[in-house]
Symmetry: C2
Subunit: 123 residues, 2 copies
């Protein structure tokens, strides 16, 4: 892990219930309004757009942050590939974290940059 | 402009000299170490990777932020397409802005998400 990186798993807090999702269930669908992002606590989540797999996310990875950042609807569908446990992060908490925790903001940026680099490499 | 968006042009400060770059000049080259990002104050900057045009940036747009975020070398070459005036933002100032100015952090995230959406659409 980089110096200054943020361990997204610390977002698990006693006051916020984790969410269990059974293998095969849809977490959110393309086109839906977005009110939260997620940290994967365990299991594997698949992200698909137009039925094309664009990412598989595992423990301590985040997804669903894009629609919170630019306030649009979901641009892809997230499905539990295995039984998964998620830590939901509301839009309000996301904005609070960005304000109060520079390492969180930088870590979200690193995730986005990593995805951009992968896409540029493929493209 | 979105509510809460950051006007990158405000980064122009009397104590930081703007940088004038003549049309056709290289601003940075793929593979070089990165120590700053830039706001375009005027003119047009082309971003190319493997001689493939991946973006054209104009007034109040930013570039060069990816290598600051993940501390890698430049992944693309930036060239002045016209005479341009740039506002350089050092790594130290970038980290300070992320810490102290949540709107700046969110605005950088919006730029990254916008680029991801464009790439996903093309891909």
């Amino acid at each position: 892990m980089n110096a200054g990186a943020f361990n997204f798993a610390v977002l698990s807090r006693p006051e916020v219930p984790e969410r269990s999702v059974a293998a095969g269930s849809v977490i959110f669908r393309e086109g839906e309004p977005a009110t939260e992002m997620f940290v994967v606590k365990s299991g594997t989540v698949a992200i698909r757009a137009d039925n094309h797999l664009i990412a598989e996310l595992k423990e301590n990875e985040i997804f669903g942050e894009m629609a919170l950042i630019d306030k649009t609807s979901r641009s892809a569908t997230a499905t539990a590939e295995t039984d998964v446990t998620l830590i939901p992060v509301s839009e309000k908490q996301f904005l609070f974290l960005v304000s109060e925790t520079p390492f969180f903001a930088l870590s979200v940026m690193r995730v986005l940059v990593h995805r951009l680099r992968l896409l540029n490499r493929i493209g």
